[in-house]
Amino acid sequence: MDITEVPMNQDNKGNKKKNKKPKKKSAAQEGNNDGGGVEEKEEKKMEKSEPAFPPTFSVSEIKNKQRRHLMFMKFKQEKRRQKLQLRKQKKKERQALGDKAPPKEVPKTIENQRVFDETTVDPQDEEIAFDEGTDEFSAYFNGLTNPKVLITTSDRPRGRTTRFCEQLATVIPDAHVYYRRGLALKRIIPQCVARNFTYLMVINEDRQAPNGLVLCHLPDGPTAHFKVSNVRLRKEIKRRGKDPSEHSPEVILNNFGTRLGHTVGRLFAALFPQNPQFVGRQVVTFHNQRDFIFFRFHRYIFKNEKKVGIQELGPRFTLKLRSLQKGTFDSKYGEYEWVLKRHEMDACRRKFQL
């Protein structure tokens, strides 16, 4: 229930003003007509008891809580009734007009109202095509390297985090889980490079549950730091399919439109081998909506040309990008390409970065 709080002083002033006006009117009219004043008083009483309120009266001025609540409920019901009437009327008009009816109005959603981002990538842009063609992922996209992922956690992981890592290792082909043992990441990285790993994935744990992800592309690639939320392990997913097979999945990247989104999308794409095995019928989806990236892992089967059945396998989680750093993991001296600054970037509800 939305109760608009009007500060007390204004309330009293309002009261006085509103009381003065009808009193003046009544005084003026009493001058003309004695009976008129009595009638007006009766009208006032009638006005208060009826659900239809005159514009100068507001529900918040009633001091008695129960009566105020009743009045507000009546007010809401009245509003609802009017809205339904309006809808019915419009429907009737539409049916009456038939084909000539004006098109239905599209409701406003935050995605509809999104502020135009000037960094949105134009597919024909040569400069960006060159930039992407020669960036750190070019070795993967040109087919020169195969992905090899090292998954580890923060020190001394517990419970859900270890199970999450194991399940992630089944989703990503050629992934190896290693126990952290308190080793420094800056020392692990040269060893990984020597052993031909292309990705280092570190899952941060807080209170026995995963809450952060650091994804570092290895030769000298960007490091992305994500916040992980809403993790559902395999046994918590309802109506799931059997365990995933060893086939490489297909990858779907939805809605990564801006330049930053492109970089993050390529970061995810390079985790999986370039040639998916369609025999396995498994698909990994990274869906970006409102700067949150939703990860899902499904198995699909085409029943006929138009119908598909899907089964959700595997873990499900949500990611939000917190920073993208150029170069391998170096949080102290590394240069950041993008950092989430909440007070500046989250101020507008309709502006998104990815």
Binding site: I128, Y336, W338
Partner: protein, 379 residues
């Protein structure tokens, strides 16, 4: 191409090798590229003006070539190879007298090149891991260098054996441990002998070579991340620094306190420069935007998206041409209005009573104009 380049007031070098010119008045950005085929070897690392008149630019690339770009013609006129890429990329570029170029590579090789010869005229070794080299605006032969574990050194090019001034590291800390030292950028303070440096340990130091003290005269700290760029505003007494997280702050040089923060950058700052006469700061960085803030109100005035990561920038003194034109137009309009009022006064009334009437008329007209202005302001 020549018309486009003449309009540009801000020049930037990008990682893809493209020299970008931005015209703020027209809000347009132009790409100037040497070869039709782009390559990462051409990544621009250093930019500087060749002469005072700002008609030619020097562009230093990763593969060791220094190209000359003419703003009048809008094309690259000259290219010369000044050093191997094996020595590291350029960390500083400066012009000496119009025909000679000073270059400094990351390995510490500071060289002066003349137009005719292929070999450097003078060569200095400024230590290892040099991060930045800057030329003094007053004495063209004085140059400062600094880098990782390589303190600030001021060199005179006419005496290349020893530096004029070599800074000492800070005193050991309270655990008697040696303080790490990483100079990222420096600037000569105009009007005196002093220098300001910013370090990757989020410190800002002011050195005074005229005093016997080799340690910093002033120490200030800002933030928790390495400071990568520095600029001195024309007003003096303050310095603008930027760090790897995109935080740009204006620090006061008298006490070392933060005067204010310029908001908007999302990525590491790579280039910062203040305009020589107007209170403006231009910043560019890894988030692929050029931003211009006003120094007095610290508000963002212009923001331009340039599609590649930007490495360095140069401001021309002819910046804000659009603003000047608008101001000129306003003044013309005001003059016209005054002329209209003057014309009206003279046209009315007779000679004898004119003075009294005119004064009365003037006051009433002035009051009217004042009233109109007040009304307009209220509206």
């Amino acid at each position: 191409m020549g018309d486009q380049s003449r309009l540009c007031s801000v020049w930037l070098g990008s990682e893809t090798g493209i020299l970008k010119g931005v015209s703020l008045g027209r809000k347009q950005a132009f790409n100037f590229c040497n070869t039709s085929h782009l390559s990462r070897d051409q990544e621009v690392r250093a930019l500087c003006w060749l002469d005072e008149a700002e008609s030619e630019l020097l562009v230093g690339s990763v593969d060791g070539t220094v190209k000359t770009f003419s703003t009048e013609k809008g094309a690259f006129t000259d290219a010369r190879s000044c050093g191997d890429p094996a020595e590291g990329c350029f960390c500083g570029l400066a012009a000496l007298g119009g025909s000679a170029i000073i270059t400094c590579a990351e390995s510490g090789a500071l060289r002066v090149w003349r137009e005719d010869s292929r070999e450097p005229v003078t060569e200095l070794h400024a230590g290892t891991h040099v991060c930045r080299m800057r030329q003094s605006p007053v004495h063209a032969h004085k140059v400062a260098t600094g880098g990782k574990e390589n303190g600030l050194k001021v060199w005179d090019l006419q005496r290349p054996e020893e530096p004029l001034f070599a800074a000492k590291n800070l005193r050991d800390d309270w655990l008697d441990l040696r303080r790490p030292h990483w100079v990222k950028d420096m600037a000569f303070i105009p009007g005196s002998d002093k220098l300001v440096t910013c370090t990757a340990h989020h410190q800002v130091h002011v050195f005074d070579p005229s005093t016997p003290q080799r340690r910093p005269v002033l120490e200030a700290e800002y933030g928790e991340y390495p400071l990568t760029a520095l600029a001195l505003p024309a007003g003096g007494g303050s310095v603008v620094v930027g760090n790897t997280q995109g935080q740009v702050a204006v620090l006061d040089l008298r006490k070392g306190l933060v005067r204010g923060v310029l908001k908007g950058l999302a990525g590491g700052v790579r280039g910062l420069q203040c305009h020589p006469s107007l209170p403006l700061v231009a910043s560019c960085g890894l988030d692929r935007f050029l931003r211009i803030h006003g120094l007095e109100d610290r508000r963002l005035q212009h923001k331009v998206y340039l599609k590649s990561r930007l490495n360095c920038l140069l401001l021309g003194s002819r910046a804000e041409e659009g603003g000047e034109e608008a101001a000129g137009a306003e003044q013309e309009v005001k003059e016209e209005e005054d002329e209209v009022w003057d014309a009206m006064e003279k046209v009315e009334e007779k000679v004898e009573e004119e003075e009294k009437v005119e004064t009365k008329r003037k006051t009433t007209e002035e009051e009217e104009t004042q009233k109109n202005k007040k009304k307009k302001k209220k509206k």
